[in-house]
Subunit: 308 residues, 2 copies
């Protein structure tokens, strides 16, 4: 779904945040892990089943207060095909519960390959005379290093299926400057990438003024975030780096436009692993995640308006 | 396995090429497709089973003359988890047949996420007290836009498991210049990325002098290829763009060092879809692929030495 749908879900819940579902098996509470290992062994199947129970519990606990989830593909791929089946089930369960699903896949490839990725993650694959969905998320993250060839097929699927994407611009990690901060024809690589993103999306604006081609901009570089917000007026931002990585509400407020539109802030471990800080061995993982999500909502909400 | 193993396989077969396994269901000959659709329906399972028979047949036909295969993840992901199971089986079958497997995944993410990707594709995932392999390829492609944070975990797995990777530098597609050709502190983005790749790999050189951190450099930009070959003496090159995309043997010869070392050239449709040009409805898909692979070997081999 386009960013209109995401923006509406944010306004309805007065909460511009997304919960990462990046479940390493170590993040799953002991009682769930043990039950699954008992039934399926310490195997990929055992891990996938445990994470499934954990993800379902998190989605149930969060779906009325958090507008979106962001499963990170890496933590499913490292469980092989059993992990990929788990990822499909997780995406479908979250959508059924009314959440907007951003599949964090950061794919980047060209032509027919990019088309195959966009079929797999947002659209449908033609098989003989029928068309089959695979992961069927609402939105994906992509990497535009290869240029517009890598973006166009995704954008076409987005238009056909009313969906959207986020391309990497300025990422939140310590070494993001290795390439992104280099100066290029008088401006940085990340600014150049930002300008490309704004240009690639042009013509796909929805009712809030944002195109279907959003940008990933980290909370950990607040000055760069502020500069990009000013340079990219029609680009919706996905903002990682809040919480564990060091970004604060004061930092992420710079991602939003005056009316509180145009951005969503991610937290993964802060919500998912909240149970590790309550001393109850994870039996309270749902309550702990919900409390952490509410605290994050209120922390960021203090600086953001929620006008229609 | 490090690039030593790949270089040895190239020398043994006197063939510096890799066959792409990018099987869209349309590329599978009719008789295989029909049999699978009859058994499993026009479904993801039906498609995955057909591609599995096709891939096995291609690997059987190529394994004594072609040193490596490169399955492109997109064409498996668009069949959902059934496609990912097919990809696992394909990788394991090719390795069992003595081929070097480059999983073309172009992943790029940071810290623990990159670690999870490298567990999933090259290493093992810890599950309780055991460790489980998932896709277990010999080598992967990655995207270094996010900087060294995105590369380090892969390199660590490569050292532990004696494997290797290729990072995108100058890609073969028409719009690769959108970002890669921009000028940056006096040199282009792709040269800067190339220098980072050479630097990231430093200290991991094998007996042929190449590090574990190779580079993807397209055949379709031969001048850039020649320049990068000179600038990156310790970097092994994966060269896409030969054949269907327009790169010739005259172009790709520039990727090799004097002794014929340091590069491998990919062909996907040229080998996989060779049966479409013989007028035999795909019943000869193995012979056609083998003949195309031999023709490619001889075409490129005319310009490349195979010294030990």
């Amino acid at each position: 779904m386009s960013f209109d749908v995401l923006q509406e879900k944010i306004i309805a819940r007065k909460n511009p945040t997304v919960a990462g579902l990046d479940a390493r098996i170590e993040y799953v509470p002991e009682h769930i892990r043990q039950e699954s290992f008992f039934a399926h062994g310490e195997s990929r199947r055992g891990a996938a089943e445990a994470v499934w129970q954990f993800n379902k519990g998190l989605i149930d606990a969060l779906c009325d207060i958090v507008p979106a989830v962001k499963p990170q593909a890496a933590y499913y791929e490292n469980l092989g095909w059993e992990g990929m089946a788990l990822l499909e089930h997780t995406i479908q369960y979250a959508r059924k519960k009314g959440m907007y699903v951003i599949a964090d896949i950061k794919r980047g490839d060209i032509g027919t390959t990019a088309a195959a990725y966009s079929e797999g993650w947002l659209g449908k694959t033609k098989i003989g005379g029928t068309s089959c969905a695979a992961f069927d998320a609402d939105c994906v993250t992509i990497n535009g290093y290869m240029g517009f060839d890598a973006v166009r097929p995704f954008l076409e699927t987005c238009k056909a299926e009313d969906k959207a994407l986020f391309a990497l611009v300025k990422t939140s990690n310590p070494s993001s400057g290795d390439l992104q901060d280099r100066t290029l024809d008088g401006r940085t690589v990340y600014e150049t990438m930002g300008a490309l993103v704004e240009q690639w999306g042009a013509g796909t604006e929805g009712k809030y003024g944002y195109t279907r081609c959003g940008a990933v901009v980290g909370a950990t570089y607040p000055e760069e975030l502020e500069k990009l917000r000013a340079q990219l007026p029609h680009t919706f931002f996905l903002v990682p780096g809040y919480g564990a990585q060091g970004g604060t509400a004061q930092d992420v407020r710079r991602a939003f436009h005056e009316k509180g539109h145009g951005a969503i802030v991610n937290s993964s471990r802060g919500i998912m692993c909240a149970w590790q800080k309550t001393g109850k061995n994870g039996l309270d993982f749902q309550e702990a995640a919900r409390a952490a999500a509410i605290a994050m909502r209120d922390d960021i909400g203090a600086y953001v308006a929620f006008e229609e």
